[in-house]
């Protein structure tokens, strides 16, 4: 009789535990104004993770909020566990949530990029200080390389970036790095910004670079602090191994031509701290 009761208890516990695991979901995502495109990009990556985590009975979902605030809400409500994005949006979200930046993604095959401020070749602007009272074109307000980093650099040079005040560096959002360059060419602005990789595609005989930042990680992988540490470790291990197998390479390639995931270096950590 006691044995029967003991066995029933064991079965009940197994059932309850299996149900608990069965319901566990890991949500990955980023922000984008056009979520559908990103969903399509993230889906194979999510499936790969799910496949790797099947023994833990974990489902992997994709969530692409349209803006930072929504992302913050989702993270706070445990609806977004792993956030993958560039430095600036990640830092914005980190400011409002308790996400941990754990890894970096070599998006488009690059370990990172540098922010570049450039002017017309025949312009009299030679240094960041010369931008005083001038107008600069940023890409948009969430761009790391084409807004956040150059803005920091200008501010570090002792200038304010504002559309008010005669000495301030005025700014416009061109909504694309190409637009910013074209605005510069057509005299709508006095300086423009982009990343060094995009700048390589420009006709350099037209422009002159007046500032180039340190190497900035292309994308960061952040985990919500609600994610189980063991699971986080497992996921990171999966990410770091992805580029070592054929299927992983294929998935990475489809995931915006990502070369691999790698741990943050000390330089990366210092750089990120500097931007906080």
């Amino acid at each position: 009789m006691k044995l029967q009761i003991f066995l029933k208890c064991i079965c009940l516990n197994v059932f309850i535990l299996s149900n608990i695991y069965a319901q566990q979901t890991l949500t990955i995502g980023t922000i984008d104004t056009q979520p559908n495109e990103k969903l399509i990009t993230f889906e194979p990556f999510a499936k790969y993770l799910e496949e790797k985590l099947k023994y833990q009975n974990i489902k992997v979902h994709v969530e692409v909020p349209k803006d930072i605030n929504t992302a913050v809400i989702l993270i706070k409500h445990k609806k977004l566990d792993i956030y993958i994005d560039s430095v600036y949006p990640t830092l914005l979200i980190q400011n409002q949530t308790n996400i941990d930046i754990e890894s970096k993604r070599w998006k488009n095959g690059n370990i990172g990029y540098k922010s570049v401020i450039f002017v017309n070749k025949n312009s009299g602007i030679r240094t960041l200080s010369d931008l005083e009272g001038k107008r600069i074109a940023f890409e948009d307000e969430f761009s790391t390389s084409a807004y956040f980093v150059p803005k920091k650099a200008i501010e570090n040079a002792g200038l304010s970036v504002s559309n008010e005040g005669a000495k301030s560096v005025r700014y416009s959002f061109a909504r694309s790095e190409e637009n910013a360059a074209v605005w510069l060419l057509y005299g709508k602005v006095d300086a423009s910004v982009t990343d060094d990789i995009t700048y390589e595609g420009f006709d350099k005989k037209l422009f002159r670079v007046i500032y180039k930042s340190n190497l900035i990680p292309r994308h960061l992988v952040s985990f919500s602090n609600t994610v189980d540490k063991k699971l986080k470790k497992t996921v990171l291990a999966i990410l770091y191994d992805m580029h070592k197998n054929t299927k992983g390479q294929e998935i990475l390639k489809r995931f915006s031509k990502t070369k691999k995931f790698s741990p943050l270096t000390n330089n990366d950590i210092d750089l990120i701290k500097g931007y906080k």
Binding site: R175, S176, E178, N179, A181, V182, Y186, F202, D203
Partner: protein, 478 residues
């Protein structure tokens, strides 16, 4: 050169259809080309309209990305490139280049001033708020256009070739169908004897009419032929009778002459016989006849009789029907002939000179040729008498000649000095009933017979007046 009707019809139909198809092919190609040009123009216009609506705002705001995205969507195979230029002609964005550039469009000045219309280039102003803010340039891919044109040309050409082959077949069939009745008629005509009637199958068309007409004409011709043949036969018969009559007349005339000659020949021997018989009778009556006198008279009479017999044999042989030419020694033959005329020639004091070698051979019917010679010499004799020629001479010469065709001939010239033949009759001298003699003396048959005899053995006879008389030239086969 014989060119069959079938071939002519085939060539005419084929040529006609080939010309029509060729014209049609070029018309079709031209029309297709125009249609395609129109299509391209419409495509350019409609695309430019759409592009213009989409890029105007972006260009105004210098939104390169939006402009580039917009023109990138116009990925038409006919568009080689699309340019959006600013108001100064600088390339703001172009479809085929992702890099940002700051270059002016190559032909902007010409295009904006409408100086030229470049092939495969569509140019349009971009106007925003009544202000020209830029230009849109669509460059068509001439290679694709040319390739499409080539494909169309190849397609049209293939159709053309197929149609030509079909045309050849149809032309052949038509030519066969048209000429079949004619070939049938020709076959029937070829296989029909001239005396048989035609048996055409009369169709109910032009060929039926033609075959009926041919049949009718054939029958008419057959009837005419029959009549003509009958007429010819009658005429030939009449001519034969006439010739026979003339020959008969000639023969009779010759016989008369012969008879005169015989009589002449026989006068002297008969006189001699009579003289010897009278002499023997006188001697028997007056002196008595001894054996020697009888023997002498009989011997003399016998000689005269032999002479008479020989003369008779010679005349008899003249009338034998020995009609086959034979090779004879000419000189001997002439001498035999002259022997017949010996007395006549002597009594008329006619000197006959024969210039001929002993071995000269001619191919003649001896007796008939004798008649020829007698006739010619007798005619000369008559002329001598009629013209009262004092010194009378007849020369007979014979020689060989080689004609241009390597045919060897023997020429015999009989020439006299009897004054010649009147020029008004010399042309017709060998025709029947033509004579040079006084009325009532000549028959007009002698020279006609002479000509017949010469021509019968493949020879010819001609006459011409010479210095003092006439010269008859006989050409004989060897």
């Amino acid at each position: 050169m014989f060119v069959s009707l079938k071939l002519k019809i085939f060539i005419v139909i084929t040529t006609f259809f080939t010309v029509v198809l060729t014209i049609n092919m070029f018309y079709d190609l031209n029309r297709t080309n125009n249609q395609f040009t129109q299509y391209l123009q419409n495509l350019n216009e409609s695309s430019a309209k759409l592009l213009s609506a989409n890029v105007k705002g972006a260009l105004y705001n210098l939104n390169y990305t939006s402009t580039k995205n917009t023109i990138d969507t116009f990925d038409n195979e006919f568009f080689k490139n699309i340019y959006v230029l600013n108001e100064n002609g600088y390339i703001f964005a172009q479809r085929n280049l992702n890099e940002i550039s700051f270059e002016s469009y190559e032909n902007f000045d010409k295009l904006s001033q409408q100086l030229v219309e470049l092939p495969f280039v569509y140019f349009q102003k971009l106007v925003f708020s009544n202000k020209t803010i830029g230009y849109l340039v669509i460059e068509n891919d001439s290679k694709i256009v040319e390739e499409i044109n080539r494909e169309k040309e190849a397609e049209v050409f293939q159709i053309f070739i197929v149609l030509i082959i079909v045309t050849l077949g149809i032309s052949f069939l038509i030519s066969v169908i048209i000429t079949k009745p004619i070939h049938k008629m020709i076959k029937i005509l070829k296989n029909t004897d001239k005396n048989s009637s035609l048996n055409f199958e009369h169709s109910n068309d032009e060929f039926g009419y033609l075959s009926k007409t041919i049949e009718k004409n054939h029958n008419t011709v057959q009837e005419l032929n029959k009549k003509l043949e009958e007429k010819v036969r009658d005429e030939v018969e009449k001519n034969t009778q006439k010739d026979q009559m003339l020959q008969s007349q000639g023969l009779r005339a010759s016989m008369g002459e012969m008879m005169d000659a015989i009589a002449h020949q026989w006068v002297q021997p008969l006189n001699m016989i009579g003289l010897h018989s009278q002499d023997l009778a006188f001697k028997a009556e007056l002196e008595g006849v001894n054996e020697k006198d009888v023997e002498n008279s009989c011997s003399e009479i016998q000689n005269q009789i032999e002479h008479l017999t020989q003369t008779l044999d010679e005349f008899r042989s003249f009338f034998r029907l020995n009609k086959k030419p034979e090779s004879v020694l000419f000189k001997k033959h002439i001498e035999n002939t002259l022997a017949l005329l010996k007395n006549d020639l002597i009594s008329n004091k006619i000197n006959v000179l024969v210039d001929c070698s002993q071995e000269e051979v001619v191919n003649i019917i001896p007796n008939e040729f004798k008649h020829v010679m007698i006739n010619l010499i007798t005619n000369a004799k008559d002329a001598f008498v009629e013209n009262n020629v004092e010194y009378r001479s007849i020369s007979i010469e014979i020689f060989d000649v080689e004609m241009y065709d390597k045919d060897k001939r023997v020429i015999v010239n009989i020439k006299d000095n009897a004054g010649g033949i009147a020029s008004d009759i010399i042309e017709n001298i060998f025709e029947a009933n033509v004579t040079t003699k006084e009325e009532g003396k000549g028959t007009g048959i002698g020279l006609y017979m002479t000509k017949l005899i010469i021509e019968k053995i493949g020879g010819t006879i001609e006459v011409k007046n010479v210095e003092e008389g006439a010269c008859f030239t006989i050409s004989l086969k060897v």
